[in-house]
Each structure stands twice: as C-alpha cells, then as structure tokens.
C-alpha cells in the first residue's frame, strides 16, 4: 500500500539531500520498508528475475554494440569476430542471445502467475496493461535483435514478418516500404533495426518504472487473492523479499548458466550460422521459440490478412482480460473449475508452440494416407494449431466470462493472516465464504 513514508534521515548529509531530492526516501519506501504480503510464494519472485534479466540484456547489449557492425556485408563477420577475437566476447554474446530466451521464459512464468492468481483484476488493470505493453515491446526487441546477426534465419524471418505488415489494407505496403527502406529486406533495413533494437530496451525500462509505480499503489497481490487488511499481513520488502528474490535469482542463474556454458546454441537454429542469402530460402523458416505460439496462430488461418489480424488479436486479447473475467474471486486457489480450464490453456499454448516449429503440412503422427479436411490432412500440424488457437480464443472470450458467472468457488479466507492459511484448499467449518468485493 502506498502509505506515508517512515524514512528518518540519519546523517547531516541525508537530511541535506532529503530536502533537495528525496531519492533515498524514495528508495527506502519502494524497496526497503515497502509492506509486502507475507505469504508470497516463489511464483512471485519472477518480477525480480525479470528486472535482473533486463539489466543483463542492456549491459551485454551495450558491450556487443561496441564491436558489432550493422552493415549487411559485415554483420555476420562482426558477430564471429566478437566470438573469436574480442576478449570474453563469446561470453557476452552467448549471455545476450540466451539471455533473451531466459527473459521470455521468466516473462511467461510471470504472466501465467498473473492469470492463475487474478493479479490482473481490479484495482490492478492498469498494472496489467502496462505489463502487456512491456511484453509487446519485448517481442519487438527480440525480433529486431534476431535479425542483427544476419544469418539465413535472421534475414528470412525479417522477410516474413515485414511482409505480414503488407497484408494490412490500404496502408500496409507503404508501411512495409518504410520498414524496409528499399524494395526488400536489405542493408537499410538492418541499420534501422539495429537502431530500434538499441532504443526499445530503454523504453521497456521506462514502462517497467511505470509498472512498478502502478504496482505500489494497491500493493502486491498474494496467493489467496485477499487484500491486505492490516500490518500483520505484511513484512517489509527488505530483507524478507530481497533475500527470497535473491535466492530465486541464483537458482534461475543456474539454469541460465547451463545454457550459456553447455548448450549455447540449443535454443537457436543451425541455419542462422549460414550467411543471409536473399536468393535462397532455408528449408524451414522458424522464429525464435518464444514467438512460436503466435506464429502458429498466424499460419492456422488460411487467409493472409485474417491470419495477421488473429495473431494481433491473440496479443490484443490480453489487454482486455480484466474486463472479460467476471469472477468475484481473484485467485484460482479457490476456483477449482477455472483451474482445470487454466491448465488446458497452458497445454494449448505449449501445443501451439510445437505447431509453430513444424511445417504446417507435416503430419503429427507419421503415417501413409490420411483424411483430408478442407485444405489439409486432419492429422497435420495446421489442424492441430487450429484446435489450439480455437481454445486460446475460447478461453479468454467464452470460458473466462462464463466461468465467473457460473462456477461455485471455494471459501475464501478472511485475511492473509487468518488460520486457514496453512490449508489453503480446504474450507474450514464455520468459515464465512465472503466473496471478495471488487475494487
């Protein structure tokens, strides 16, 4: 809760600074004494992980920019130069490339946590929307960044995505030409993508600032979804959550290090080690793994423009989620029916990801012969992605609104500190099942 500050300047210097620029007071109120619900579980540590990953990406990115050359003839070689000749260049480059994947892994866990615990619900709608904006900026940054090494996948991925924009009626082709700076993806495109790739992370940092500000107005959500009622429901952020976040970060770093040091190319594509050739398309054009579900949705629709619209709608749906969810209970801990649909949703997203990695006509279960339905074999990935996409949209636009109105939730505890805390899923006898008031 944003309450009144408890900071007391101790030294003369602190008093002098506090009356001119209360930055120490601000830091104290935001990350030292900030009252945080005491029941946050490990799913809440990913905000800290994300802040760290943004910092790592910016630092490693600035270092790479000291050596990288954003010119179509020199880019690929400059990346190899970084890996071979620049002192510890291999470390910085592998950290940056795998850091992007880890950044997205953390953001997906963070988003799925929000969906489960209803953190997007009132009064945190703006917080959620700011998060969606960050997600969108991250995807743009990741896309621009992947183009920079100028490998086959970099180049042809850029061709596909920029051609998508061309599907927009009337203004599409002009916007595509603006993006290209020419008649096709070429050197001018690479140069401006580099500029934008450098710019966007700082915009992300700015929106992250707003995101944390918007968080601190109502304060953190917690696994029960019940509002903080008194001081006894909270602990100061430091040292309780600085240390807990620190532990979660160190475990996350172990996973990160496993990729950087032992499997640095596992999440990439071998084709990107071939210099970009505009005259030859690789066998399979596959975006980075974190964009695969949206790629699958795009290809699920047989019409070019409709595919683009559905892909953007998939992201746009997130923005309006707070108004689609009619449930009066925040946390799915007390919504057993919703929980089932939620897990199927996670499955659908994973299935969409797998579909995105395959050619649409490939068969899911290899066999000879098959049943054609409309434009493709029923056993093909394109039909599987259609099922996945259908569930994706149905989950937000049909299931979520209906469930809130029709399901019977479990008893929600009165407060964070009340005795039911140690047995979250059981409804103790005599407890009042008071549905959470909105707002």
């Amino acid at each position: 809760m944003s309450g009144h500050s408890t900071y007391e300047p101790k030294s003369g210097f602190e008093r002098w600074l506090d009356s001119r620029l209360p930055i120490i007071r601000f830091a104290n109120d935001t990350i030292v004494t900030f009252p945080t619900p005491k029941n946050l579980n490990y799913w809440w540590t990913f905000g800290g992980v994300l802040s760290l990953m943004l910092g790592i990406q910016i630092v490693t990115g600035i270092i790479l920019a000291m050596h990288y050359v954003p010119n179509a003839d020199l880019a690929f070689n400059s990346v190899e130069h970084i890996r071979r000749d620049v002192n510890y260049g291999w470390l910085v480059q592998f950290m940056h490339a795998n850091g992007a994947s880890m950044f997205f892994l953390a953001v997906y866990i963070h988003i799925f946590r929000n969906l489960y615990y209803g953190s997007y619900k009132a009064p945190r709608e703006v917080l959620w929307i700011l998060g969606c904006i960050i997600y969108l900026l991250m995807m743009a940054t990741g896309f621009f960044g992947y183009v920079l090494p100028w490998g086959q996948m970099s180049f042809h991925g850029a061709v596909v995505i920029t051609n998508l924009i061309g599907a927009i009626p009337v203004v599409g082709p002009s916007i595509t030409t603006l993006l290209w700076g020419g008649f096709a993806v070429d050197n001018p495109t690479l140069n401006r993508f580099f500029s934008l790739h450098y710019l966007l992370p700082f915009m992300i940092a700015g929106v992250v600032g707003l995101h944390i500000w918007a968080l601190h107005v109502p304060g953190n959500n917690n696994p029960t979804g019940v509002n903080v009622k008194s001081e006894t429901d909270t602990v100061p952020f430091h040292p309780y959550y600085t240390v807990k976040d620190g532990f979660a970060i160190s475990v996350f770093l172990i996973v990160y290090a496993a990729f950087v040091f032992y499997m640095p190319d596992a999440l990439g594509d071998a084709a990107n080690y071939v210099k970009a050739n505009p005259l030859q398309t690789p066998q399979h054009i596959v975006p980075e793994w974190y964009l695969l579900p949206f790629y699958a949705i795009l290809r699920a629709v047989p019409n070019k423009l409709m595919g683009v619209l559905f892909m953007f709608a998939a992201i746009g749906t997130l923005f309006v989620l707070p108004w689609l969810d009619t449930s009066k209970v925040r946390s799915m801990r007390y919504r057993p029916t919703a929980r089932i649909y939620y897990f199927i949703f996670i499955l659908a997203c994973l299935v969409l990801g797998v579909c995105g990695a395959h050619a649409p006509d490939d068969l899911v279960i290899p066999h000879s012969g098959g049943v054609q339905f409309l434009d493709a074999d029923l056993d093909s990935y394109v039909w599987l992605s259609r099922i996945g996409a259908l569930y994706y949209f149905a989950y937000f636009w049909v299931i979520t609104p209906l469930l809130g109105l029709t399901e019977t939730p479990l008893a929600v505890p009165e407060s964070i500190s009340s005795p039911v805390l140690s047995h979250p899923a059981s409804a103790p006898a005599g407890a009042v099942a008071s549905p959470e008031k909105r707002g």
Binding site: I63, D85, N87, Y88, G89, V92, T232, V235, G246, S417
Partner: protein, 184 residues
Amino acid sequence: MADTVAGASPDLHASGDDPNRRDFIHIAAGVAALGAVGGLAWPFIDQMNPAGDTLALASIEFDLSKVVEGQQVVVKWRGKPLFVRYRTAKEIEAAIKDDHADLRDPATDESRHKPGKAQYLVLVGVCTHLGCVPTFGGGDYGGWLCPCHGSVYDTSGRIRRGPAPLNLAVPDYAFLSDSKIKVG
C-alpha cells in the same frame, strides 16, 4: 506494533530474532553476491582491451632493403606511422657530437639504435607534444620538424627545440637478419 493476533508478523525487536542484526550467513550471502558481480565485471571490462585481430597486427616485419641511404620509409604500425631511416655517415656523426649537449630529454645516440647498426634509426613518427607527424629533414638539425607547433628533432630523433617534452619514441624491435627487422 502491538501484536494481538496469533501468528502475526515478526516482532523485529525480539532478542536474537532481529533480522537486521548482521548474522554471519547474511554477510556471507552478501559477500557472495558481490563476488558474483565482481567476477563478471572483469570480463566485461577486459572486452574493451585490444581484440585478437588487433593484437595480431601488433608486430610487423620490415625489409630494410627498401630504404635508400639518406632517406626514410614510413610504414603503419599499430595504427601509427613508423619512421625507418637510413642515416648517412655525416648524420650519424652530427648525432654523436651532441650526445652531451644540453638536451631536454638526455640520451646518447648509441642508446637509440641497435649495436653495430648505427645507420638504421627506427622511431615512432608521432610528435611527443600533441601527436602530429613530423616532416623528414626539416628543422636546423637535419632530423625532423613538426609542422604543428614547431618542435625540432635532431638526426637521432631527440627533441632540440620547441614544445615537445620527449625524444621521438624508439619502439621495441629486433634484427631478424641483416636486412630484416621485427617491430613490436
């Protein structure tokens, strides 16, 4: 912070439970965190040091048969001009004569060439004042003259007049054979 509800938030001032007290484990964790940041800081700083390909060009070999007596050849070495001068006997004599003159940066001529190879002078062609390239043969000592602010060097490359504080630098070099040197 009167706690009347059972199982409430921690009483921060209970003896032995004060989390603000510097328990060893917290100090150890903090030190480890700083260690991790420091361990990563060195590679991130070292990456700005010269890269492998820059270091590869750090040493060059030069064929002395390209230099004519009384003339100099200028080659690029480590991004800077390198003067390789084949001195005439008169120029060597003039340089030795001034070995103990009033020099701003005292040095004997012998210390500025390889033993037995007095005729070859290898110098970094960067004026020690502010970095311009001195012109060959200019100035009244027959050595070099820097056009930017008028520093005058003698036939041993020593500073004689003008604002430069030091003699023209002699790089690290060695004779691989009578006609070949390796610089750097």
